[in-house]
C-alpha cells in the first residue's frame, strides 16, 4: 500500500482526536505526533473502512458473549452477571517504557514481601520506629492469628498486582498495591485471546510479547514450594455470585486446578482436604480468591460462610501453599503507601523505582500539617482503605469539594483519630484512545499489572488489564465494580516473538498416561446432577407446551379441539406447572389457554415455567463452568439465551419451541458424545435419566388408557411428547392401542426415551460408583419388575398408575440418596459460649 495514502488515511482517523493539554496521552506525543509503537495499529485502522471496523467490534463482542465472559457488577440492580466490557482497541506500551514498569513492579513485589515478612515475623520495622505500630494495628485486615506464621518457603507474596497510570510528566505512578487476592489476570488473558484475533496484523507487526509463559512460570514456581513437587491444587472461589467468578473458572481450567468453594474443603490436623466422590483428597495448593478475613470462620471473621474452618491452623502447620498466604492486605492502603519509599531504602537498600501517589498519613502532627496544606489538590481517605477511589464503598472525599465547615470537622477528626486518615494528592490518569461509535476518543486509563514469585525472582505478566474510566476529571472511576470497561495491554517489543506458546497445548515434558483421575468436588457433582435434571425438564416442558400449542389454532375459540383436554391432563394435576393454565384448560377456554401457554413458556414469574427452568440450566451450568467445554457452554448459552421480546402469538411460540427442542437435543448430544465418561458425565446423566424416566411415566399415566373419544389423539400426543411417534409408526402403522403404546413408553428398553431404558441405565451407573448405595437394590428390583411386566396388564385399571408410582418413587429416591450421600455435607454452624450470649 502507498505509504502516503496510509498516513493520509491515518490522519483522517485522527482528525477529530483532541490533544489534551496537561495530560499524558498514550498514543500521541506532546507535539501531536503518533508514538511509533502505535503505528501498526493506526495503519490498520486507516486501511480498513468503517464497516470493517464495526464488523470487528461486533466480532469481539460476540466472542466475549459466546465465551461467557462476564463480570457481575454490584451496582446493577439484582447484581446479575453482565458481559465483560472490552474495548476493541488495545493499550500499547513500547519495550523501553515497559522495562521501566516491569523493573518497578518486581521491586514493589519484593518490597511487599519483605514488609509482610517483618510485620508477621520479627517486627523489627516496628521496634526501630521505621513503621509506626499504627500501620499494622489499625488495618482491619491485619490478621493477628497469623503473627509468627512463616509460609512455605518464607514467601509472603506469591502473586502481586499494582494499579498504575502515567502522570502528565510521563512518569508511571502506582495508584495501589494489591497483595490480598489480586484479580484480573484471567480477564487479561481472555482479552488477549479476543483482541489479538481482531487485530492480528498489528499484533504480529508490533511484535507483541505473549502472555502464556508467565502462567507457566507461576505454576512451576508454586510447585517448587510443595514437598510433592506436583500441585494437587484447588482454586478457592467465593462462588458463582462473586463478580469475578468467570475468571475463577477460567483460571482454574487454565492452570489445571479444581474450582472449589469453602464448603468443598475441610482441614484435618493441619492438612487441607477436598471432599470428592471418592472421599477426601489432600490439597496442597490453594489459589485463594476468598479474602483472608473470610477464609476461616474459626479464627478470623466468625460469620464468614465462604471460608474453611481450620485454614489458619493449616497455614500454621505449613504443609499447604496458599497463594497468596493469609493477611497480605495489611500492606495495601494509603497509609502504607506513604511509608514505602522509606521502607524500600531500609529493607532493600534501594530507591523506590515506581513512585506512588503523594500521600500524607495524618497520624503525626507533621503529617496533618502537610495533609491540610495539600487539601485543595487531594482526596481525603480512610488510611487503610484499599477500595479504588470513588468506587462503590469508597468514602474518599475531594478536598476542593469541602467547605469551611467540612474542613473544620476534618481538622478536629484528625486531632482525635488522625491515624485513621490519609490525604492523597489527586493523580489525573493518562489518556488512551477508545473506540466510541466508530471514532477514536481519548479516555482515562489505568493499568493493572501482575507479578508472580519464582525461585529466581518475580516475573511480570507482559501486559495486563487496562481499565477505561467512564468519566474524566478528578472523579474518573477506574473500578471494574463501578462499571469501567477494559482493554488488552500490548507490550510492543520491537523484536519478533517466538512461536505461539500456550499452557493449554504444547508442553515439553512427556506426561504419564492417565485415564480418569479427575476428582470433582462433591458440590460440582450436585450441580451437574441438577444441570441434567433441569435440561431434561426444559426439553419435556417445551415438548409438552408445543404439543398443546399445535392443537390450538391462532383463533382458538371455545372449541379448541383436543388441546384443553390435553392441557388439563398434563397441567392440571401437575400443579407445579401452572395453576392458571390448569384453570384455563379446565374451563375449556381456548383463548385463555393460548395466553397461558405463552406465559408458561416465557413468563419468568411462573415458578415452574420454561423460563425459570432454563434459568436453572444456566445457573447450574455456570456453577460448573470449569467442567464444561467451551462448545458445551456455548450450547447452554444458546439454549438459555433470553429472548429480547416474548412470543406474541402461537405460531411464533411454536417456532421458538421447535428451536428450543432442537437446542436441547444438541446439548444432550454434546453431553453424550463429547464428555469423558468420568464422574462429571455420570452425575449429569444421573440427573437426565431421573428426570426423563419420571417424565415418561407421567405422560403414560396421564394420557394413555382411558377409553373415550379422544383416546387416540391422546396416545398420539403421548408418543409425540416422548419422541417415540416414529418408532411406533414403524412398528404398528396407524393403529393406536394402549398396550403397545405403554410398552414403548414404559417397558421397551431399546427405546432410549422409555422408562425402562432409564432405569436400566441408572442401574448400570450405580454399579460404577465406588461404593454401593442401598438404592441400587431398589433400582435392580424395579428393573426386574419392568422386565416382567406384561403390557396387556397395564391397561387394566390402576395398572399404569401403580407402575408409574413405583418408577417415580424409586427415581426420586435415587436423587435424594445421591444428595444425602454426596452433596449434603451437613451444614456448618457456629456455636457460641452461652445460651443467648455472655451474661454479666
Amino acid at each position: 500500500m502507498d505509504p502516503v495514502l496510509t498516513s493520509a488515511a491515518g490522519a483522517g482517523i485522527l482528525a477529530d482526536y483532541p490533544r489534551s493539554a496537561g495530560r499524558h496521552d498514550a498514543m500521541l506525543a506532546a507535539d501531536g505526533s503518533v508514538r511509533p509503537h502505535w503505528r501498526p495499529l493506526l495503519d490498520e485502522l486507516a486501511r480498513i473502512d468503517g464497516p470493517e471496523l464495526e464488523h470487528r467490534h461486533r466480532a469481539v463482542r460476540r466472542q466475549i458473549r459466546d465465551n461467557g465472559v462476564t463480570y457481575n457488577v454490584y451496582d446493577d440492580a439484582g447484581g446479575a452477571a453482565r458481559p465483560w466490557d472490552l474495548d476493541t482497541l488495545p493499550f500499547i506500551l513500547d519495550g523501553q517504557e515497559w522495562a521501566t514498569i516491569e523493573a518497578g513492579i518486581v521491586q514493589r513485589a519484593r518490597l511487599a514481601d519483605a514488609v509482610l515478612a517483618d510485620i508477621y515475623g520479627p517486627r523489627r520495622l516496628l521496634e526501630t520506629g521505621r513503621l509506626p505500630p499504627h500501620l499494622p494495628a489499625g488495618h482491619p485486615q491485619f490478621l493477628r492469628p497469623l503473627i509468627g506464621v512463616r509460609p512455605p518457603g518464607g514467601v509472603h507474596v506469591l502473586v502481586y498486582a499494582a494499579d498504575l497510570t502515567c502522570g502528565p510528566d510521563g512518569t508511571w505512578t502506582v495508584l495501589a498495591d494489591r497483595v490480598e487476592a489480586p484479580s484480573g489476570m484471567g480477564y487479561a488473558l481472555e482479552n488477549r485471546i479476543v483482541v489479538s484475533q481482531a487485530f492480528a496484523d498489528p499484533f504480529r507487526d508490533g511484535h507483541v510479547v505473549r502472555l502464556a509463559a508467565f502462567f507457566q512460570a507461576m505454576k512451576d514456581a508454586l510447585a517448587t514450594l510443595l514437598p510433592s513437587g506436583r500441585a494437587r491444587g484447588v482454586l478457592l472461589s467465593p462462588g458463582p455470585h462473586n463478580e469475578a467468578y468467570f475468571e475463577h473458572a477460567f483460571l482454574a481450567h487454565y492452570l489445571g486446578l479444581a474450582l472449589v468453594e469453602g464448603d468443598d474443603l475441610t482441614v484435618h490436623d493441619g492438612d487441607v482436604y477436598l471432599k470428592t466422590l471418592g472421599g477426601l483428597r489432600r490439597a496442597d495448593l490453594v489459589m485463594r480468591r476468598v479474602d483472608s478475613l473470610f477464609a476461616d470462620p474459626l479464627e478470623l471473621k466468625a460469620d464468614s460462610s465462604l471460608g474453611v474452618p481450620g485454614l489458619v491452623e493449616a497455614a500454621r502447620a505449613g504443609r499447604v501453599v496458599l497463594a497468596n498466604p493469609l493477611g497480605g492486605a495489611v500492606v495495601e492502603g494509603p497509609a502504607m503507601a506513604a511509608f514505602l519509599p522509606d521502607l524500600c531504602r531500609t529493607l532493600l537498600g534501594e530507591e523506590l523505582r515506581l513512585p506512588g501517589v503523594r500521600t500524607h498519613w495524618c497520624g503525626t502532627a507533621a503529617g496533618r500539617r502537610a495533609a491540610l496544606a495539600a487539601l485543595d489538590r487531594s482526596v481525603v481517605r480512610d488510611a487503610f482503605d484499599s477500595v479504588p477511589l470513588f468506587a462503590r464503598g469508597s468514602n474518599a472525599r475531594l478536598g476542593i469539594e469541602m467547605d469551611r465547615g467540612d474542613r473544620g470537622r476534618l481538622a478536629r477528626l484528625m486531632e482525635r483519630r488522625g491515624a485513621t486518615l490519609a490525604v492523597q494528592e489527586v493523580m489525573p490518569p493518562c489518556l488512551a484512545p477508545a473506540l466510541v461509535e466508530g471514532r477514536l476518543v481519548p479516555r482515562p486509563v489505568a493499568l493493572r499489572v501482575f507479578a508472580a514469585w519464582t525461585p529466581a525472582g518475580y516475573v511480570v505478566l507482559p501486559g495486563g488489564l487496562a481499565r477505561v474510566g467512564q468519566g474524566d476529571g478528578e472523579r474518573a472511576t477506574l473500578s471494574m465494580q463501578s462499571g469501567a470497561a477494559s482493554k488488552d495491554v500490548w507490550v510492543a517489543s520491537g523484536r519478533p516473538q517466538g512461536e505461539r506458546f500456550t499452557l493449554l497445548r504444547s508442553q515439553s515434558e512427556p506426561l504419564t498416561i492417565r485415564r480418569g483421575g479427575d476428582e470433582p468436588p462433591s458440590r460440582a457433582l450436585d450441580n451437574l446432577l441438577w444441570l441434567g435434571r433441569y435440561a431434561e425438564r426444559a426439553e419435556a416442558l417445551a415438548r409438552t407446551i408445543r404439543a398443546v400449542v399445535r392443537r390450538l389454532g391462532d383463533d382458538a375459540g371455545p372449541d379448541a379441539g383436543g388441546a384443553p383436554d390435553l392441557a388439563r391432563r398434563l397441567f392440571v394435576p401437575y400443579a407445579q406447572a401452572s395453576e392458571a393454565a390448569a384453570a384455563a384448560a379446565e374451563a375449556g377456554d381456548g383463548a385463555a389457554l393460548a395466553r397461558e401457554m405463552l406465559a408458561l413458556a416465557a413468563d419468568r414469574n411462573q415458578p415452574h415455567g420454561l423460563a425459570r427452568t432454563l434459568a436453572g440450566v444456566r445457573r447450574t451450568a455456570w456453577s460448573v463452568r470449569d467442567r464444561l467445554s467451551l462448545d458445551h457452554w456455548r450450547s447452554i448459552l444458546a439454549l438459555t439465551e433470553e429472548e429480547d421480546e416474548a412470543a406474541t402469538d402461537l405460531a411464533d411460540l411454536a417456532a421458538r419451541l421447535d428451536m428450543l427442542v432442537r437446542r436441547t437435543a444438541a446439548l444432550a448430544g454434546l453431553s453424550a458424545e463429547n464428555m469423558t465418561r468420568g464422574p462429571n458425565w455420570l452425575f449429569l446423566d444421573f440427573g437426565r435419566r431421573i428426570e426423563r424416566g419420571v417424565g415418561a411415566t407421567w405422560v403414560a399415566r396421564q394420557l394413555v388408557g382411558e377409553p373415550d373419544e379422544r383416546a387416540i389423539e391422546r396416545m398420539q400426543m403421548a408418543l409425540e411428547i416422548a419422541d417415540s411417534a416414529m418408532t411406533y409408526r414403524f412398528r404398528y402403522l396407524g393403529t393406536f392401542q394402549p398396550a403397545p403404546v405403554l410398552d414403548l413408553l414404559l417397558l421397551d428398553e431399546s427405546n432410549p426415551r422409555s422408562a425402562a431404558h432409564q432405569v436400566a441405565t441408572l442401574a448400570r451407573h450405580l454399579n460404577e460408583l465406588r461404593e454401593q448405595l442401598v438404592v441400587e437394590n431398589d433400582m435392580v428390583a424395579l428393573l426386574v419388575r419392568l422386565r416382567r411386566t406384561d403390557p396387556a396388564l397395564l391397561t387394566r385399571p390402576g395398572g399404569v398408575g401403580g407402575l408409574s408410582d413405583a418408577v417415580a418413587g424409586t427415581l426420586y429416591g435415587l436423587s435424594d440418596a445421591l444428595a444425602d450421600r454426596y452433596f449434603r455435607p451437613s451444614l456448618r454452624r457456629r456455636t457460641g459460649s452461652a445460651p443467648r450470649r455472655e451474661g454479666g
Partner: protein, 297 residues
Amino acid sequence: MEYRVRHRTTYHYLQPVAQSQHLLHLAPRATPRQTVVGTHIAITPPPTRRTERLDAFGNLAEWVTLEDPHTMLEILAESRVTEAARPPHDAARSVPWEAVRAALEQPDGPDAAEAVEFLFDSPLVQPALDLSAYALASFPPARPVLAGAIDLMGRIHADFRYDTTVTDATTPVDRVFEIRAGVCQDLAHVGIACLRAIGIPARYVSGYLLTMPPPGMPRLVGADASHAWFAAWCPPYGWVDLDPTNDVLPGTGHVTVAWGRDYGDVAPINGVVVGGRDHTIEVGVDVAPWAEASTES
C-alpha cells in the same frame, strides 16, 4: 484472696455432629494482681486433638477438634487463682488525656506501642455514630485520663440500663448506644468505643465475678455467668480496669481470663460444628473462695 473458678458449658445437639472445632479462651492469664495456681480443662467426649498456645494478645488459648460423631459436648474449666487488691491509683495524678493521645503518635517503649493495638475500630466495635461528643463530656480539656475514664464508666452505668433481653451477641455498638441498654458485654463495648473515639486506647476484658460476695457486700450483677468489662490506657499507671455494669474499679472480686480488642477476640468458646442441626447450651459459672469450695466438693 484465693478462688476456685468453675465454668461448665454443655452442648446438646439434635443430631450427631460429625466434626467440631473450637477455640477456647477459658484459662485465666496471670496479671500483676492475679496469680494463676492452675487450670484444668476437662472435655467430654475426649477430643481428637488439643493444642494450647498463646494468642496474639498473650492470652492462653486452646484449639480443640473432635472428629468422632457426638451428640453432646461438655467443657469444664476449673481454675485456682489468687487475687490481690487493685493498686491504689491516684486518678488525679494520671496524665492529661490529650497528652496520652499525643504521646501515642510516637510511642516510647513497648508498652505504649502495644497500647496502639487498642486504638482502632475492631470487628465488633466499629460505630458509624460519632461517639466523641458523648465521650468528651467526661474529658474536658486537660483532665487526667483516669479521672475521665472513671467518670465515663459512671455515666455509662447511669445512662445505660442493664437488660438481658434487648441485645444479642451480634448487636452493634450503635444500636446499644441508641437504646441505651444491654448486658455487660455491650456496656464494655460502649466504653471502648467512646475512648477510642477520642484517641484513648481501650481493650475488652473477659472474666468472672465472685458469685457470693463477702458478708456485708452487695452481690454484683453478672455473677452467675461470664462477665466482661473494659480497660483504659492510663499512663503512668498503664492499663486500668473499669466495670461499667457495676460502676466499680475491679478488685479482688474480679477474676481476669483474657483480653482483646473486643468480645470476638476472647469469646470463651468459639466453635464451628459440622452437622448437629439445632443445639442447646447450658452454662454454669461458679466463683468461690478456695477454702469454701474445696471443703464443699
